[in-house]
């Protein structure tokens, strides 16, 4: 598994993908739709898939002494690890906004989403959508990435739109709590997000292995 991940990180990935890890710091920008920071990472991952296809990586991987299913595993590992790095950065920056910066007027007067556990749950749902729609769609053919990415974009726009505006709906203002207000509800949404991320990613991985095994390279 380590060899697969190393191969993905050091040979297959597009260098620009790593630049997009910095997008996590958009979490700190006041008045910005901060959920887009997660989208920028997935855009970086998409670039890597473009480069992988350009380099005929799937055929190269298939010729290595690994099972065909390991090719899928390598790509999922790569995405999950980078998603994990960005999400941990988002967690740290969210904690910063919830504690030291909790009284900042720049954040309090923000009409958009606040950085809180609900935001982190939404970021996980964004990544789950990438894994469930883009990765699964890609492994149906092993080379077509346009249609799966288009599907993911549509999902992302709906998710970001709803998440950024949800707290304006009467009764849902607690989703946009500052600091540690409504922390119980916030943590429940985070837990649900985490569980859904795991379920969707695992199901997507299993389905991708099955589909990829059936295709001819």
């Amino acid at each position: 598994m380590v060899k697969l991940l190393k191969k993905e990180l050091f040979l297959s990935a597009a260098p620009i993908t790593y630049v997009f890890l910095e997008a996590a710091f958009l979490t700190l920008v006041p008045g910005y739709p901060i959920l887009m920071s997660g989208f920028f990472l997935t855009l970086g991952l998409f670039y890597s898939f473009q480069v992988m296809r350009e380099n005929n990586d799937i055929l190269y991987s298939a010729l290595l002494p690994i099972a065909k299913s390991d090719i899928v595993k390598g790509k999922y590992l790569f995405c999950v690890v980078l998603e994990g790095i960005v999400w941990v950065l988002m967690v740290l920056l969210t904690l910063l906004r919830m504690t030291f910066l909790a009284d900042s007027m720049a954040y309090k007067s923000n009409a958009l989403m606040a950085a809180n556990p609900f935001f982190l749950a939404c970021a996980l749902m964004l990544f789950a959508g990438f894994n469930g729609i883009f990765l699964h769609g890609f492994f149906k053919t092993g080379y077509k990435y346009g249609k799966p990415f288009f599907g993911y974009l549509a999902y992302m726009l709906v998710l970001v739109g709803i998440a950024e505006a949800a707290h304006h709906i009467p009764g849902l203002s607690a989703l946009n709590a500052f600091g540690f207000e409504a922390i119980g509800l916030q943590l429940i949404t985070l837990l649900v997000g985490l569980i859904l991320y795991i379920i969707i990613t695992v199901c997507s991985y299993r389905a991708s292995v099955r589909k990829f095994d059936r295709i001819d390279l």
Partner: protein, 240 residues
């Protein structure tokens, strides 16, 4: 002793079917695989490497089915599908470093020996290599981990006559050490030079699976060379 067996392999595409292909590869035997373009050589080889999903049939290596043992089997075999056509902008050295990490029995000494023999520069990018050199890179990858079986799809087709001659000598040397080799080719003299066994495929069906000597005795007409025999068989198939 059979170390690779292909049994009743079938694969259908629109307009083409590979039909009931069965053969085995013996230890220390070189098998030449011949047939015209589109006859089914590459589909057979890709099926053997699990790159293509056969409709039916079974492929075993060292007594183990490929399905379920893919990683273990691939670590003991070497294979190439034509020229290296991946990671064109990566340096050969980088590609070797990553590839070697996957093989438990990768031999750096053997790798260096073939790098020198094939005059390959690890500082060059893959795209800077000629087609012939790209074939050699594939062979280098296949030969550097003490493969017990080599499965090579047209390894000589992009090589100059001198490199081809060197490569066929390497095949003969590997055969002496017990390595089993299957190679497809359009160059009949390559088969004449080093093959012990002949697989001849026509329109997806295996027409011959026997020793080169037996094929000539059973199929060649008086005074015919191997090339003349194969051309006659192809002509008669074309004319119905």
């Amino acid at each position: 002793m059979s170390i690779v067996t292909v049994s009743n392999l079938c694969k259908s595409y629109p307009g083409f079917s590979l039909w009931d292909i069965s053969f085995s590869l013996e230890k220390g035997v070189i098998t030449g695989f011949i047939g015209r373009n589109g006859a089914g050589k590459t589909t057979t080889i890709k099926s053997m490497l699990n790159l293509v999903h056969p409709d039916s049939g079974e492929i075993t290596y060292f007594g183990l089915p490929m399905g379920g043992n893919e990683a273990a089997v691939k670590a003991r075999i070497g294979y190439s599908t034509g020229t290296v056509n991946f990671y064109p902008k990566k340096k050969l050295g980088e590609l070797l470093k990553v590839t070697s990490s996957f093989y438990p029995n990768w031999d750096e000494g053997v790798c260096k020996q073939y790098l020198s023999l094939f005059a390959l520069d690890t500082e060059k990018t893959v795209s800077a290599l000629s087609d012939g050199m790209k074939v050699k890179v594939n062979l280098l990858l296949a030969l550097s981990h003490h493969a017990e079986v080599l499965i090579l799809d047209e390894p000589t087709s992009a090589l100059d006559p001198f490199s081809r001659d060197e490569l066929l000598d390497i095949f003969l040397h590997l055969k002496e050490t017990g390595v089993s080799i299957l190679f497809s080719t359009h160059i009949i003299s390559d088969i004449e030079k080093c093959a012990d066994q002949l697989l001849y495929i026509q329109n997806g069906s295996l027409l011959a699976n026997e020793s080169l000597q037996a094929f000539m005795q059973n199929t060649a007409q008086s005074g015919e060379t191997l090339e003349e025999t194969l051309l006659r068989l192809e002509r008669s198939a074309r004319n119905g």
